[in-house]
């Protein structure tokens, strides 16, 4: 038997052979991308073959509205200066994007929201020169929420917002007015609840657990009392006594048994509202065409209510997506050129993408102003709410801060946890992050 035994030298030779058999790095890299068209051409930006155009890979999350995927593919095809490959990502886009940005097999350009950590770790490149000429056509909040250290890292593609949809007929039947304060909201929700219909749908997580697009009310809890996640000078803004009262109101709503939980779809999908599972629903403007189609004129929209008639103000979120460019792009300049061509130079693409599928608000003021679909009915009400009450995200509010804050919110609202203790824990985590970022 001893003749068959292997020795260390053979073992190591074998390792080398094995590595050769697998083919080394290029093949491995190709495994991750899922874009088989790219893996064959290792020549890089295409100067090798005569006439070959550079290749740009663009990543999007999955928009729910029919036709959106075809639309971005159509734009990509129309681009004359490069071969643009669209990656449309259903499911957990954020995780996929985050891992993509760590490697060189990630996107060249992608949609996301600007975050200070991406900037500090040099994952993205500034885009100021791209929108210098038309900067004034964007709303101020769309610029500031994409700016870190005085440089712009994201160009808004779509602006989103939420509204509280309500069924006019159901409210009339119950003799309830659209709510304008927390207490009215709770009362209305209870009043509207029957055996088969719940009063209000704010997500299966009661609006406080941010996974799979949940956590829809994490901001509104604070905005309702005129506060925010971080104060303007970057201090935790969620520990005031009014904020704590607001948390208790949401818990009261959760405990009232009048909100819809365990629905087949979540808050960002209007099905629960259109199928009559709930009389009111917090949902995005994007769902408006679908709701109109399903229930006709039997609905209206209001902002998320203020804490009370004297404290705080109504609110909604300023959401949406911004086009960004990866610092690891195969050709950063080519990727930037594409972003400029698609979202800055060709306003008609922005108009088409925002208004022809679901409803979004075009970030360019000139486009929003002439958008006839946003001029009448509930859409016009929504636009007014957006202009008056939308709260922009702060790039300094990092995912880690958000996770700590959401843990506290989940414990307080869904588990009946102590408000002071849970928010103190979150505050500690947020302060540690702020120290890390701003010293």
């Amino acid at each position: 038997m001893s003749g068959y035994e292997m020795n260390r030298r053979r073992f190591l030779t074998g390792l080398g052979l094995g590595a050769a058999a697998v083919g080394g790095a290029p093949l491995l890299a190709a495994c991750g991308g899922g874009s088989s068209g790219l893996s064959g051409d290792q020549a890089g930006s295409g100067e090798g073959a005569s006439g070959a155009k550079p290749q740009i890979s663009v990543w999007y999350h999955q928009y729910g509205e029919a036709g959106t995927q075809q639309a971005v593919q159509k734009y990509a095809k129309a681009y004359p200066d490069a071969d643009v490959k669209v990656q449309w990502t259903p499911g957990d886009y954020t995780s996929k994007l985050n891992s993509g940005l760590l490697s060189s097999s990630g996107p060249d350009t992608f949609e996301s929201g600007v975050n200070i950590d991406q900037v500090r770790s040099e994952q993205v490149v500034p885009l100021d020169d791209l929108i210098a000429e038309v900067k004034d056509d964007y709303t101020a909040v769309d610029i500031t929420s994409n700016t870190v250290d005085e440089q712009i890292y994201g160009i808004k593609i779509v602006d989103d917002m939420g509204v509280l949809y309500y069924r006019k007929s159901l409210l009339e039947k119950a003799g309830v007015q659209p709510p304008t304060t927390w207490d009215e909201l709770i009362a209305a929700s209870k009043e509207l609840t029957t055996k088969d219909v719940k009063g209000l749908f704010i997500g299966n997580d009661a609006g406080v657990t941010p996974s799979f697009g949940g956590g829809a009310l994490l901001g509104q809890i604070l905005w309702a009392v005129g506060s925010d996640f971080l104060t303007p000078d970057n201090e935790p803004g969620f520990t005031g006594s009014e904020a704590k009262q607001s948390f208790l109101k949401l818990r009261e709503l959760f405990d009232s048994g009048s909100i819809l939980l365990g629905a087949p779809t979540d808050w960002w999908d209007p099905s629960s509202f259109t199928q009559g599972l709930a009389a009111m629903q917090w949902c995005g403007l994007w769902a408006l065409p679908g709701i109109q189609k399903a229930v006709g004129d039997d609905f209206g929209v209001v902002p998320w209510p203020a804490y009370s008639s004297t404290v705080g103000k109504p609110s909604t979120f300023l959401g949406g997506w911004a086009a960004m460019v990866s610092a690891k792009a195969k050709d950063v300049e080519a990727a930037k050129a594409y972003v400029k061509w698609l979202w800055v130079d060709h306003a008609e693409f922005q108009e088409d993408f925002n208004l022809n599928y679901g409803f979004h608000i075009p970030p360019r003021k000139s486009l929003a102003a002439r958008a006839s679909k946003l001029q009448s009915g509930p859409a016009a009400d929504a636009l007014k709410i957006f202009n008056e009450y939308a709260v922009a995200p702060n790039p300094a509010w990092t995912p880690k801060m958000s996770a700590a804050y959401a843990d506290a919110a989940t414990a307080i609202v869904r588990k009946g946890g102590d408000v002071d203790a849970n928010l103190a824990t979150a505050e500690k985590a947020v302060r540690a992050e702020l120290d890390r970022l701003f010293g």
Binding site: S121, P210, G416
Partner: protein, 316 residues
């Protein structure tokens, strides 16, 4: 390691093999051996061992939005995690979960195996039926449980059935008092796992010599319980220890159903889900990898301790 070699050597013509037989072994063996083992070994190295070593290195580093170690912080990541906080409470969640799921799966799969062992007709059919769910993915099962069986509205299966008895709709996954979500989590995992462990027990049962039962009957074992207690159970010791071990490791690694059913809920978040969101969500790979190392060490210690106590791998 030498196991693969003789098989590869046998077909070679004797004279050549004799010539080739040198000090270091049969030359013709090596290429064939590496041809089959090489790719697997390389895969193991590249996809398992390198990432493990990389993780350990990264866990001593502050790695925010990067997987390149460099900003060394010593043991700080470990210190952070081991203070009272979400990671420790996720370990508590796991402990609660394991306390439920391990004994329950053990008893149920053993029970099923015992019943199946008695059945004389259609045994293969029943065995397949109980084993089939093992082939189902956790993600698919979670979605079926969430959307169809345990959804919170009136047309969910569970609520429909309860509705017949006048029970009001229950939001299974959202209700924290009483914590109905455990019903969903535990039942999904049972359905997926019991069949597999049942097969292990069945194999164990079929290895027990019938003579033992005959001898027990002769010696006056009065009833089924006595035979089970004094013959079957002791004879199943090796299988039982293996099953317990696998169940415990599986519970430690709980991820899919929690992730898909509850997302990032701080009230029921096992360690892996927490680490997933730390690394993938927060992009904090330093803490993420440190937590993974702690978890791996914990599993190793428990496995070794259990092996020591129950004598895993020893002859019967």
């Amino acid at each position: 390691m030498s196991v693969g070699a003789p098989a590869a050597a046998t077909p070679a013509a004797p004279p050549r093999a004799a010539r080739a037989r040198g000090r270091g072994g049969v030359r013709g063996v090596a290429p064939a051996f590496w041809f089959f083992v090489g790719p697997f070994l390389a895969g193991l190295l590249v996809f398992v061992y390198v990432p493990i070593v990389w993780s350990v290195v990264l866990s001593f580093s502050r790695a925010q939005n990067t997987v390149t170690p460099g900003d060394w912080v010593g043991l700080q990541n470990y210190v952070d995690l081991l203070q009272p906080g979400p990671f420790l409470s996720s370990l508590v969640t796991f402990t609660v979960f394991a306390a439920f799921i391990v004994p329950l799966t053990f008893v149920l799969s053993l029970g099923l195996a015992l019943l199946l062992n008695q059945v004389t007709v259609l045994r293969t059919f029943f065995r397949s039926v109980f084993f089939l769910p093992t082939a189902c993915s956790y993600v698919v099962a979670s979605l079926v449980w969430k959307l169809s069986i345990f959804n919170g509205v009136r047309f969910g299966l569970a609520n429909t059935v309860l509705g017949w008895f006048g029970v009001e709709n229950i939001a299974w996954l959202a209700t924290t008092s009483p914590p109905w979500y455990w019903v969903v989590i535990v039942s999904a995992r049972m359905w997926l796992q019991v069949g597999f462990y049942m097969i292990l027990f069945l194999a164990g049962l079929q290895r027990i010599s019938p003579e033992l039962y005959e001898a027990a009957a002769v010696d006056g074992a009065r009833n089924a319980w006595q035979t089970f207690r004094f013959i079957t159970l002791p004879q199943l010791r090796a299988t039982s220890v293996a099953v317990l071990l696998l169940l415990l490791i599986n519970a430690y690694q709980a991820f899919d159903e929690f992730f898909n059913l509850l997302g990032n809920s701080s009230f029921a978040r096992p360690p892996l889900v927490y680490l997933y969101y730390t690394a993938q969500g927060n992009q904090d790979f330093g803490h993420g990898t440190a937590g993974a190392v702690i978890l791996a060490l914990l599993i190793m210690i428990v496995t070794l301790a259990q092996g020591k106590i129950f004598g895993f791998g020893k002859a019967d």
